[in-house]
């Protein structure tokens, strides 16, 4: 029995090792090709860069210069951080308010938020774009309330679930002691919501950082985000693409996410599981 378990474990380990290699292979392929001259990518994509094909960081310089990817990176970072902050602060306030103040109106609002979670983006894509452009929300500042609106469904739902489990007595005590509702919320309630706030922040950050269609429709090519910059580079090239520069762009787009993931892995995986179970 022991012997068999050992063989099975050895076999499983080798299998997992092989699978990890397969999982990493697509990324490896992009990385090696980002160091090859553009003429050698199409012909011999699997070859490791050698003396003839290796071009150092030339692709990175070309990719950065031609695509405005550095600007896109900081723009995406700004939009993501600002929108996530807005979502965490405003939706937690909303969730607390509609959970604690019982009224018909608040109940309807809560169910509307829930309902929005099942509506695919294409349903409101065209009309939302025209409403937002009419209101002047088609810029990097204006897109923040747009993300707040689209992120509110899941976020209000998750915060409400947690608020319901909190004892009311602590908040009541704070208010009897003379705290305003605003002070009560930020000094007493919000610190207790922290685990949910982290989950909400991670789920929304992953979505907004990678989002393509919404920034494509509202910001377009003038204020491109990372995903939009990559898509437009490919779309605008009509076959005459600089593959080297494009590979370098992909690598530059992946590195920050992987670095962030390796640092915050524990929170990300926990956040994703919580989000899946409650969503």
């Amino acid at each position: 029995m022991k012997q068999r378990t050992k063989i099975f474990n050895g076999f499983s380990f080798s299998l997992l090792l092989l699978l990890s290699a397969l999982f990493l292979f697509p990324i490896y392929l992009v990385i090696i090709n980002s160091f090859k001259s553009k003429f050698n990518i199409v012909g011999t994509p699997f070859e490791f860069p050698n003396e003839d094909t290796f071009v150092g960081i030339e692709n990175y310089i070309n990719g950065i210069q031609s695509s405005g990817i550095v600007g896109a990176f900081f723009r995406t970072l700004f939009v993501t951080v600002a929108s996530v902050l807005a979502i965490v602060i405003f939706t937690s306030m909303t969730a607390w308010y509609i959970t604690r103040v019982k009224s018909k109106f608040n109940k309807i609002v809560y169910y509307l938020f829930l309902f929005s979670m099942i509506v695919p983006f294409q349903m409101v894509m065209f009309t939302m774009t025209s409403v937002c452009i009419n209101l002047g929300l088609n810029n990097v500042i204006g897109i923040i309330p747009v993300y707040l609106g689209f992120g509110s469904g899941l976020s209000v739902f998750m915060f409400s679930g947690f608020v319901k489990s909190l004892p009311k007595e602590i908040e009541e005590a704070a208010m009897i002691d003379g705290c305003s509702p605003l002070k009560t919320f930020f000094m007493v309630v919000f610190p207790m919501l922290k685990p949910t706030a982290i989950t909400v922040a991670i789920l929304n950050a992953m979505w907004i950082w990678n989002d393509f269609l919404l920034p494509y429709l509202l910001l377009g090519s003038t204020d491109k985000t990372l995903s939009v910059a990559i898509q437009l580079t490919m779309q605008g090239a009509y076959g005459s693409i600089d593959w080297g520069g494009f590979m370098a762009m992909l690598v530059l787009a992946i590195i920050p996410i992987i670095a962030f993931y390796l640092v915050c892995q524990k929170y990300i995986i926990k956040g994703v599981i919580d989000g899946a179970v409650k969503g």
């Binding site: 380990f13 999982f23 609002v109 009309t127 939302m128 393509f212 995903s227 898509q231 996410i257 599981i273």
Partner: protein
């Protein structure tokens, strides 16, 4: 306390509610209305009844093709992703060396955005097909299986961590008791493990169904619908109808309503199943 709080209504409720009404509620209601009209911008709509819906199903073979492609794709992806993810979770909950490393690797693709994912796989698949002188736009089958592999790569790790969390919740006494009673590993799997992880199975099934059904970014980046429109899924077909065919915006909106109804039905079934499970427990 409630009375006191009500005065603070504008601060607590309005920022979220106003954004929500502007970007979701109003566009949603407008969208339903516009699906019954002919329009090129939201201001010049004329009522045409259900003409757009009829057009979507009869005059536009792309829509039915996209619907069929999406359903086929969803079925294949849901089955492959969940089987692979569950098997990996089983392996990674055994006391093996390096499980933390493997989990990190398998989960990682999930964080990369759909557009970037699509182009990574575009490179990989075209490199492989290039050996034989083809590329991914050569046949719709290549696009189909390319998308299946891509989504497997992206979602296996995600579903795997949900299955792992669920497997770790099974009390170890249960397995030990069964082993002492002489149960084989297979019957433990069949009679203890699988029934105990059923809630996770429901969650993962619906997560993979909705993720496959609503796929857009990956579809756009990997095949862009090529060859012709054969590998366009529903979301991409709707996008192309809106922005690629002048005068067809109404049909695009009608397609979007149909798309919404299908997605809503899927979610509704999920809600029914989960709430029934909760009652049973």
């Amino acid at each position: 306390m409630e009375k006191n709080m009500k005065k603070y209504f504008p601060i607590f409720l309005l920022p979220t509610l106003v954004s929500f009404v502007i970007v979701f509620f109003i566009p949603f209601v407008m969208g339903i209305y516009l699906s019954f009209t002919r329009f090129t911008t939201v201001e010049n709509a004329t009522w045409v009844g259900i003409e757009n819906y009829i057009k979507a199903f009869t005059q536009d073979e792309n829509f039915l093709n996209a619907l069929w492609f999406t359903i086929k794709f969803t079925i294949v992806s849901v089955i492959t992703i969940n089987i692979c993810a569950f098997l990996l979770a089983l392996l990674l909950t055994r006391a093996l060396k390096g499980t933390a490393f493997f989990r990190t690797v398998f989960f990682m693709p999930n964080l990369i955005g759909g557009i970037v994912l699509g182009y990574i796989w575009n490179l990989l698949i075209n490199s492989i097909l290039g050996i034989f002188g083809y590329d991914i736009t050569y046949s719709a089958d290549y696009g189909f299986w390319g998308l299946v592999f891509l989504l497997n790569w992206q979602l296996i790790g995600y579903m795997m961590v949900i299955y792992i969390a669920s497997l770790q919740n099974i009390p170890s006494e249960l397995n030990e008791a069964a082993r002492i009673d002489g149960a084989t590993p297979f019957s433990i799997l069949r009679h203890i493990t699988i029934p105990m992880v059923m809630p996770a199975v429901t969650i993962c099934l619906f997560l993979t169904i909705t993720n496959s059904f609503k796929l857009f970014d990956q579809n756009l980046a990997l095949t862009g619908g090529a060859p012709a429109r054969e590998t366009s899924m529903l979301a991409l077909d709707i996008f192309n109808t809106f922005y690629g065919r002048i005068g067809w915006q109404g049909v695009g909106q009608a397609k979007a309503v149909v798309f919404f109804i299908i997605v809503a039905l899927i979610s509704f079934i999920q809600l029914k199943i989960t709430s029934r499970k909760e009652v049973e427990n």
